[in-house]
Symmetry: C2
Amino acid sequence: MEDIAKELLAGNRLALSRTITAIEEEFENATAIMQQLYPHTGHAYVLGITGPPGAGKSTLTDKIAKTFRNMGKTVGIVAIDPSSPFTGGAILGDRIRMNSLTLDEGVFIRSMGTRGSLGGLSHKTADAVKALDAFGIDVIIVETVGVGQSEVDIVKAADTTAVVLIPGMGDDIQAIKAGILEIGDIFTINKADHDGADKLATELNMMLDLDGVMKDWRPPIMKCVGNQNIGVKELVDKFEEHRAHIEANGELAKRRTERVKNELLDLLSSRIESYIRGKIVDNGKIDTMVEDIKARTTDPYTVAADIMQSMLK
Amino acid sequence: MEDIAKELLAGNRLALSRTITAIEEEFENATAIMQQLYPHTGHAYVLGITGPPGAGKSTLTDKIAKTFRNMGKTVGIVAIDPSSPFTGGAILGDRIRMNSLTLDEGVFIRSMGTRGSLGGLSHKTADAVKALDAFGIDVIIVETVGVGQSEVDIVKAADTTAVVLIPGMGDDIQAIKAGILEIGDIFTINKADHDGADKLATELNMMLDLDGVMKDWRPPIMKCVGNQNIGVKELVDKFEEHRAHIEANGELAKRRTERVKNELLDLLSSRIESYIRGKIVDNGKIDTMVEDIKARTTDPYTVAADIMQSMLK
């Protein structure tokens, strides 16, 4: 296992792949590998790209990656995809991007499925980002499909987050906009050649105004057409601008401290979940408890309290 | 606190409201109330309604509720909404539905925000469902915006789940369809008067065929136009059919056992998270750990292992 970490640090792409697989599949050696890699992290800049389904995030992310490549930077993409019942894992990303970016040695793309526990996923994403970071990649893009709390939690791991929206999203757009307002450092209206782009920009501006709080950074509202590569360079320039801004005012250091804290709590939850699983699930002890609860001779709250008392110091 | 539970059980709507607020806000008396209510649960039928943003779920849910009302049943709606940074809570549901259903004493509607931890939310949703159940409501509809893993976890709490889709969803639809295929007992194409409804039905049918596994219940693909009340009665009939089917073949009992188990694990995770918070977060102990990790004199994996050892028996 030490070999995998050493090879990754020496620039071996296959070792990087195997490391992320070990993280994803929760192989026993994953922790030991990560312990070896950790001292070599902290150099990459991490971007989050999120937004509702259908917003064209994958295409836009690819164009952003190419723009960074043209600037001489290496790029890693971690795409969080919904699980597929067919493949048991990620179904997007890799396949769609096969033609456009995979021949470039300066790009590393990996999809991660939302199979398994969610806490598990955000901690796995964080570890995958660390592996790419230790590998020496300059810019890591974490892309999530959807705008649920899970996705919000995942992009919180980013230094700078861009929210991608498109015109004409229907009824739920108000809700979506409200939910993502607090996580967007930059908003970009993709498919801006469609009807309603200006209207959406106006609405977003109003919501940002309503937000009221005087902030050091007012999230800009950009426009782009990802599949025609229109507005992408401007978006990347804005990423760089935001980065310089939060480096200068100390916000980046603050975000990274917050990230380490959240990741530690996340890792801890995940470890404790495994512990519980080992203590009461795998051995079937939980089944008796469940029967008692179902029979209503007890209740879940009492049982949970009993378990806590038996497990914790 | 006993009074709230007693009053709820006696049919006091205000007590029901206050109970759900206690659950949502994690008031200290919430657990004691739930312990009182638990023996009175298990009678309601729980429906899950999920699907991507913009699919018209809220409108459709209201129409479904009215149809059940016409059949003489009482209905509860728990709408899971994205958080708003303005209100700090749920922003949809209540307001939109104000006019159409709130005058009916046989309907109880409550929105719950995705603020706070996700584990927290699914456990809070489960408790809100139990409160409505103990109150004596016949049919409880849990409606979630989005199709992330979080939403999937939440609708897993349902006896029967309907997935709402609309024609012309764009690139991510393949991913969404795959992700939700396993949770849909019934699919319904809303806004079926729009172009592409037949194409979507064909695609869904193909995916269900590809799924391969011979199942006892082949999820039907329905069509409806929620805001015109077209196809809603047929959908409700299909809910009833599915219910009768899973009652007869033992699947309902199996699902409920699974639900009790998941809810217990969920509750336990939530409780342990609070415990950790009390032990290392609230008192600031975690800050020193975070500084050491940031300085890379240690790593998160080692720190997590140390904490585990100090906390667990």
